[in-house]
Amino acid sequence: MFRRVLRLGLTPGRPNRGLRTRRGGFILDWDAKVSDFKKKIECMLPGKQWGMPYDTSYLPPKQSDVVIIGGGILGLSVAFWLKKMESSRGAIRVLVVEQDHTFFFSQYSRASSTGPSVGGIWQQFSVPENVQLSLFSINFLRNINEYLAVVDAPLVDLQFNPSGCLLLASEKNAATLESNVKMQRQEGAKVCLISPEQLQNKFPWINIEGVALASYGMEDEGWFDAWSLFQGLRRKVQSMGVLLYQGEVTRFITSSRQMETTSGEQVVLRRIHEVQVKMNNSLEYQPVECAVVINAAGAWSGQVAELAGIGKGLPGTLQGTKLPVEPRKRYVHLWHCPQGPGLETPLVADINGVYFRREGLGSNYLGGCSPTEEEEPDPTNLEVDHDFFQNKVWPHLVQRVPSFKTLKVQSNWAGYYDYNTFDQNGVVGPHPLVVNMYFATGFSGHGLQHAPGIGRAVAEMVLEGQFKTIDMSPFLFNRFYLGEKLQEYNIL
């Protein structure tokens, strides 16, 4: 009996938990605790360096199997799927590092792109994998309370508006739109083509001048509250045991190896051993030993990739191919128009990139426009340029919806896109040379709606070595070196 008691209570690291307490207990990270304790005892012994033990609970742990850089929607989605797909409970230790300490409790912080996002989701893409990602994401959102259920926590209310998405096309884009819709319907999206006359009947407030064809999503499209999704995900991953810490990644400790490919070429393979996480407003940092690093840093992924040595080489070689993701500023405007379109308004995306949607019951509308390359605003700050709305957005809005002539702007804000300058589509998967860095970034405005699908794809890649459900191989890093663009027809 005594032996059984010993086995139950005092053996660390048993595979099944038995009757154990949850907060600490004998088994939670026992080895690390023992080595910590030994260090503390050592520094108290005479003859050693006196290092007074102090509270380090604000520092991230010294070791973690997976470090996810970036605590926005993509980072949390990857953490969620890693924990969901792990082989046994507590098998993988995941650490999420986010540089902005206000982000976790205020959606108005701007370091991440999740807070200021418009929150739309639609399946009308030209790349089939994007359509599949969207379909999976809408399934995830519909069953969100089954996925993100935490005992005793309130249900996640996404405030989803299933009003659909309307894409307008002019004469020269009509053929592309038609073939896209055909592909989307094959994948299972419920999108239909509408002629201008049908459009005028359905939505009398629209001006069909210049519209040759339109595609309308009947179901599974609309917009939702990104912040409640983020909060729900955060609660769930915390309950699954993922550690969320604030800090900025400043350095990677890597080791390199010269290897020869099958064709006799010499390549240098690099492996990240440690991530140095620096605390806010101080020089203190914590080196975190890790096995896998996931770059989900959004608009700042390019800088993080440079820290790992990606892009340091002769241009034109794989060594010298940088991660082409940079922050781009985008504005969102909120206006009020009492005579505006009614309750049935979908998310309307006009021919020239102007989009808008309804917000709430009180005749408020949200919208914006993607600027052309020449008009790109300066991404060093998040100041809103009010002339942009006056000159670039309003004229097009009035031309498409005449009742918007009397609109009155209520507020504006700006946010960053993690803009992929190569082809405006995301990067997913491992880097060919830095073997343990995986990317989940660069989605240029679609990151939020594809987050569940991308998280699952990255988790499959990390845990099983290949994409199992959606084949994301067109999104791998290699395409930047090989020059194969994965062009998307319409970017909102």
Binding site: L19, R22, G25, N161, S163, G164, G362
Partner: protein, 256 residues
Amino acid sequence: MAAPRAFLRLGAREWNGRARAIHGPREPVTPDSNQKRRTLLQFLSDHFHDVQALREYLLQKQASRVNWKNRSFPNIQQKYGPDVTGALFILKQGGAVKFQDKEWIRPNERGRFPTEFLTFREVPVEAVDASGCAINYQGMSNLLPLKELRSLSLQRCPNVDDWCLSRLYLLANSLQELSLAGCPQVSERGLACLHHLQNLRRLDISDLPAVSHPGLTQILVEEMLPHCEVFGTDWTRGPKLEAERPPRDTPSPVCP
């Protein structure tokens, strides 16, 4: 036997208590954790993995029970056709069905219903009364092939939400009467996608607790569906007295 184990558990908690005092609280304070009153079950769940696992399992079972009720019947669909399948689905859930030119078929208090409708060939279902049933998004796929459905009543259905309403556009050609009274999960966002139902003549959206502004929502829905008569909150009148309510206008032919 149990005493040494209990002693060990107590020891662990004491150790943790002291450790917590040194390190301070770990988790960031969220608005959810501010509840002062925790029930015994929640307290046990916080401190024991097994209670937590059991509660998670029970939560999962609840969800899978609803999903089982809303399963589809592919064999019956193949053998008897979509109308009979839809009728069977509704009757199993406890609702009532009316075939064209036939009487209403309802299950009795025991849940039994007459099965003569299995012999109906090519008779479309005209009206469905799914009040109080556990129908959800998944279960709606049994109702959507009923192309001649004229009246649908989803009163007080606890699992009907905005997602379900977004599927109703498939019944747009035939649906004339829809009732959503008392559904706790339907909000104005779901009502916005009813604009596809252009043949709708009667819509009941009274008593929807999730709608934030019932009066304003009713005005917007009336604007959206100009040919439809919308019954919602009676906001034009003051406090409602039973005797003062005007008699309802001509009842629709398919009203149960």
